[in-house]
Symmetry: C2
Subunit: 276 residues, 2 copies
């Protein structure tokens, strides 16, 4: 493993959900003050805002908008729901374009009422359906493989291999992959599949956090980098060797960390980031 | 998919942990009365018993002892702990032999303080170390691949493919695999890897339960068959096509179902079993 140490914050991006209680305006100010250089915006933080102005404000804080989070949730046993999902993804694409976000992270979805194979086919069909609209708006779509513990309702795409297969089948420069250490760290094929992803030009985003032992909640008990058992440095080395030079995006859902003073939490994020 | 419908209870096995509050004596009586034909015994139910007599009593209830649960937990950053684990596995082998259990299910273990690769190597070394002792006692060791959400502390073996790789590397007729739908249902390679497992003669056990949506606890929120989203019938068809003709073992950890009257729960198990 050869990995360059992190020497500055130029590639540090924080997801707005990470500092959950802050509005996008407060996040913008505080991220800038902390030296953060990128921001990934969850859609709920844009509610009631003029999105173009919100994007401009972030830019004035020296923040690059890395991604809009999240589109996806394509599968359903109901064709009405599948149509609604397509409409919502088109809306997300418009929001991303207005905000100045170059990509949308896709939490692809799954419906426990049908087989994973059917959900997977619906995901691919959904992406292909909205792809022309995404291209018109200059917005890329990043498939995020989710941990197998989310295969019932959140995503039927659960490994880097599956995401690679799907991105390669769609074969558009507007479709790629967001790799998140939380979802992927356990996979014995991870190094090989990250390399493949980079070679095909599909590696669009890299998300970091940690896996706590014990983990007490399936959704909201992610760890701050360094708290858990993920070798983030090793995975970052694979991602960088695969040609990725984008942001390291801190995406943490944690009831425990959200209950902290969020400025103190942000300071901890910055501090622990240097050891990633 | 071609699968024979379940017509009787001749292949129904229940794990003692499933009806958690019952002693092994009560479980024996009640399983017999319900028509259950197999029992897998968790070690804590043997505490304070003469194990050979406990086994005989189960036999008198017309119950075949399918497996002793559980051995494993080989990896540790501490060599003292690794040695303790070997001793405990030897003790489990003696217990299995005394009870009349033909195999031990291995929850292989993992230590979050070291890499998964290291834990995996320690698992294989641990199995190889106790294997001669297992052979002397006529007890097989069944590697159980665990869901990736348990990769931090419970098992660094998380897919059927990894379990196959390890069983084939060890290459002993006393080492095989216990396949549990709860851990494996999400895996796109499951059918292929079950087929491979059967072909190599490594498929020793088949465990059933269901995956609830939502799942509210990482450990103790398994569903009764039919409650969740796992296509048990399909996976059973793969297992049977792979040549497996052993018991279908019901292994459910559930705070919710344990809080029920356990006789009512057992009746539900029997009823839902016919639809598996």
């Amino acid at each position: 493993m050869s990995v360059k140490p992190i020497k500055d914050l130029s590639k540090l991006c924080v997801h707005t959900i990470t500092t959950k209680s802050w509005s996008i305006e407060e996040a913008g100010e505080r991220y800038e003050a902390a030296g953060v250089k990128g921001i990934s915006v969850w859609r709920q933080y844009l509610e009631g805002r003029n999105i173009a102005q919100a994007g401009e404000r972030l830019s004035n804080h020296g923040l690059e908008v890395v991604s809009l989070v999240r589109g996806g949730f394509f599968p359903s046993v109901s064709s009405t729901e599948r149509k609604k999902a397509l409409d919502d993804n088109r809306k997300a694409i418009e929001e991303a374009a207005a905000l100045g976000a170059p990509m949308i992270v896709l939490v692809c979805g799954a419906d426990p009422g049908q087989s994973l194979a059917t959900s997977r086919a619906q995901i691919q069909a959904g992406i292909e359906e909205v792809l022309p609209f995404a291209m018109e708006h200059g917005v890329k779509l990043a498939i995020e493989p989710l941990h197998p513990m989310y295969a019932d309702t959140r995503s039927a795409v659960n490994t880097m291999e599956q995401a690679n297969d799907m991105a390669e089948a769609i074969a558009s420069e507007y479709v790629g992959i967001a790799a998140d250490v939380y979802h992927l760290w356990w996979d014995p094929h991870l190094e090989k599949e990250i390399e493949r992803c980079g070679k095909k030009g599909n590696l669009l985003a890299f998300h970091i956090c940690d896996w706590n032992s014990p983990t007490v909640d399936l959704l909201n008990d992610r760890g701050l980098m360094g708290e858990g058992c993920i070798n983030i440095k090793e995975i970052r080395s694979w991602v960088e060797e695969a040609g990725f030079s984008g942001f390291n995006e801190v995406e943490i859902f944690s009831d425990r960390l959200w209950a902290m003073d969020q400025q103190e939490f942000l300071d901890k994020i910055v501090k622990s980031y240097y050891d990633c």
